[in-house]
């Protein structure tokens, strides 16, 4: 799972509706895998990503490539788009846990796949 996907995941537990995003990474192993840069796509995503959550998540993972706020010229700022690409599309979470900041539910990541399945009573 790449960090772009994590940026869209919230807790699914029934009744857990507030402060359930972003899920906190714990004990994760990361891997960098090179991918082709697609600036058109990144520009299209600028208005869709939860930038604050992305930066906060990165800091916890000791990734300091992104400025704390999105630059005003993000659309044309190649250096920024490069950094965003590296963080969102080249950083893979191979294993670990995601913990809900609200209800503390733990979602396991194994072989790069987050397990978002819930037991019957949690749905």
């Amino acid at each position: 799972m790449r960090l772009i996907t994590h940026n869209m995941l919230q807790c699914h537990v029934k009744g857990c509706n507030a402060n359930n995003f972003p899920l906190d990474f714990q004990d994760v192993s990361l891997e960098q895998q090179e991918a082709e840069l697609n600036e058109d796509f990144l520009r299209n995503m600028l208005g869709k990503i939860e930038y604050g959550a992305l930066v906060a998540t990165c800091l916890k993972l000791n990734i300091t490539d992104l400025p704390s706020t999105m630059p005003a010229d993000a659309n044309t700022n190649e250096e920024f788009l490069q950094a965003l690409h590296r963080v969102m599309l080249e950083t893979h979470v191979i294993s670990g846990k995601m913990v809900c900041p609200n209800c503390s539910h733990i979602y396991i990541i194994r072989d790069g796949i987050p397990n978002m399945l819930l037991a019957e009573h949690e749905v």
């Binding site: 869209m8 699914h12 995503m45 796949i113």
Partner: protein
Amino acid sequence: MKLKELEGYLQDVAVFTKPKIKLEQYPTTPHLAARMLYTAHTVYDDIENKAVGDFGCGCGILSIASVMLGSAYNVGFDIDSDAIAIAQENCEQFEIDMDFILTDLSAVPAPSSSEDGPDGTRGSYEMMKGKLDTILMNPPFGTKLKGIDMVFLKKGIDLANHAVYSLHKTSTRQHILKKAKEWGVECEVVAELKYNLDKSYSFHKKESLDIAVDFLRFEKPQPKSDA
């Protein structure tokens, strides 16, 4: 890339080794997958540089076709970790970057929940809403769990930013057109296709069986402009 060429590549996508009948695991054929994605790309421009979701992705063939036609980000959703493992191997073989989420798209919270939407469903993928430009699916048709096809479809339409592509039994067409109207989305029957089901399960009497399926495209009104 030409349609035939795409279909040719897709012949090498591995399918379920032990299909699970309760999940209605029938592989989408290379022919159907190529037709769907080629049309989505060349006629509607819903693939190139797009973020694409794949509901009930199984072994990943729709997403693999999507990546071949230039989608920029792909994520597959499936309830079966065995299917996802095969999909991952397929991606490795085709050198494709794709994420997967192990999840139950059919899970609908109890209607009594105060957080339910007006239609009784709550988006457990609320954060994903509007972020995937295009959602693809060959959903379970609901022969084992009645109505699951519509649950998948509704969720796809809720989450997609712009378009949803899906396959449904032609016999359900009128029902789906009516639902699309209720949901306020355009529904177009792009093509009526033959879905050839090889003898995947022992209860199939014939070696192979053709069923009529509709290839449908749904478009949401006033797509969000992020330009």
